[in-house]
Symmetry: D2
Subunit: 148 residues, 4 copies
């Protein structure tokens, strides 16, 4: 099926910026015996935050930083415990105060099989004022620099 | 911002089929002091499954039933504990073996303010064979019948 | 089997101080098709924090408040979705800077059947200094006052 | 403070049988900015199930296997993201159809500091009949054999 992000951004514009392995926990599965849908978003979140860490962006409630304003995922195959998820994290088009991200989820023991594709739009915000602000130049540079 | 589902289905086609109140748990919040993004998908899941229950669809691993193949959410406002989430569940366009769903999240103490909008495509599957199958007529009827 | 708290406090000393209903979410279940063990502790946490709310104790990172330093639970029967958990919250023996709590988990549709019994010791702390401090007299009064 | 398991079993009887590293996820933290109490039990669960895997005990709903009937944890220090939890898993006294387990949680970057101590009693059950059954001799041997 068509993925939500296909309309907004072609694959050619994506820059692979980060990669993370996340061990599946048994408790990530639900009563159907597969990793629960909401946990795919947790894997995406963890990859995003590890990437933020790699860029030296600790969460500072009194400063500025990135928040997501939407998230989507297409579930192509069912992940199951045991195993390790391999997340590839991409950056797409940059706006004035936001940038698009994409992720691909695979299993480390099956690196050629795509399990899920996701997307999330990150906005640069002033946490105290709860408002988006323009991304400083060093942030614009940082998000398109591969760290893998 | 534009939502992923806007391209696929206009608001005019949506039928409100179900409504659910979900009390926010303190543990739904993350280290930023708001309900975590992944938990918005949990609220959507709970509304969907309660609606399935209302239609008399218990999960039967040896039978047929609905699974989601994608999910998306636009986070408009930050939900915080304490409070109760009010989920409105809509059905959009029906295909041969799938149907589109939409949800709107609000707080019961602020019923006119939209906190998040989500969408998920449900596919009718044979759980054993892990394959989509055409929706029987009674299912096609059931999913467009309001139960509120 | 013998419960961890039996040695420390007899049933006679317990004061029922709070009661809470927590709807079971489908996602609370794990791959064995029952509510996951860790979620019993989440129900206990929610009852404790709702009780704190009822006493007018919002979490204030710059002030004082209660934290748990241990937790235990005996799983007597398996909770399953759908249903609502009824939590009874008790206070046991008070120390200088801490108090013992107990919980009992039942289903609202089966109020005479005990599903689980838990316990946790709450300590009164100065959050900034991360140290226990003596409970003020109004706190000592508050924790033994039933609010049901 | 005194730990729940101290009464039942002295440290001398414990056999270290398994060790597991569990990366902390950002989402493991709650609104107080620490790993949530319920997640300590998740780390214990993961260590237990990885140990079961190491013994060749996949979960078989039609067969026999181990379930926990209680769990306890003493929270000594607050775990925080980022980091990796190092879990040591011990076996204590064996009964006819059950065995005692203990865990110790540390951080891999601070291996000499104990963060939490937990315990859980495992019972050997026939999953279909939901009844405890005597542990076969090969199980009694397996649980006291270190796999590290």
């Amino acid at each position: 099926m068509r993925q939500p992000h296909d309309a907004a951004s072609g694959a050619a514009q994506r820059i692979l910026v980060f990669r993370l392995e996340v061990p599946i926990r048994w408790g990530d599965m639900d009563a159907m015996g597969h990793v629960n849908n909401t946990v795919y978003f947790r894997y995406m979140e963890q990859a995003r935050l590890s990437w933020f860490d790699a860029m030296g962006w600790p969460y500072d409630p009194n400063g500025t930083g990135a928040l997501i304003i939407n998230a989507s995922c297409t579930f192509l195959r069912q992940l199951e415990y045991p195993g390790t998820v391999l997340v590839h994290h991409f950056v797409g088009e940059l706006g004035r105060s936001s940038f698009q991200t994409f992720v691909e989820l695979r299993r480390t023991d099956e690196p050629d099989t795509l399990y899920a594709e996701g997307a999330a739009r990150c906005v640069w915000v002033d946490f105290q004022r709860r408002k988006s602000v323009p991304m400083p130049e060093h942030v614009r540079q940082a998000v398109v620099t591969p760290r893998i």
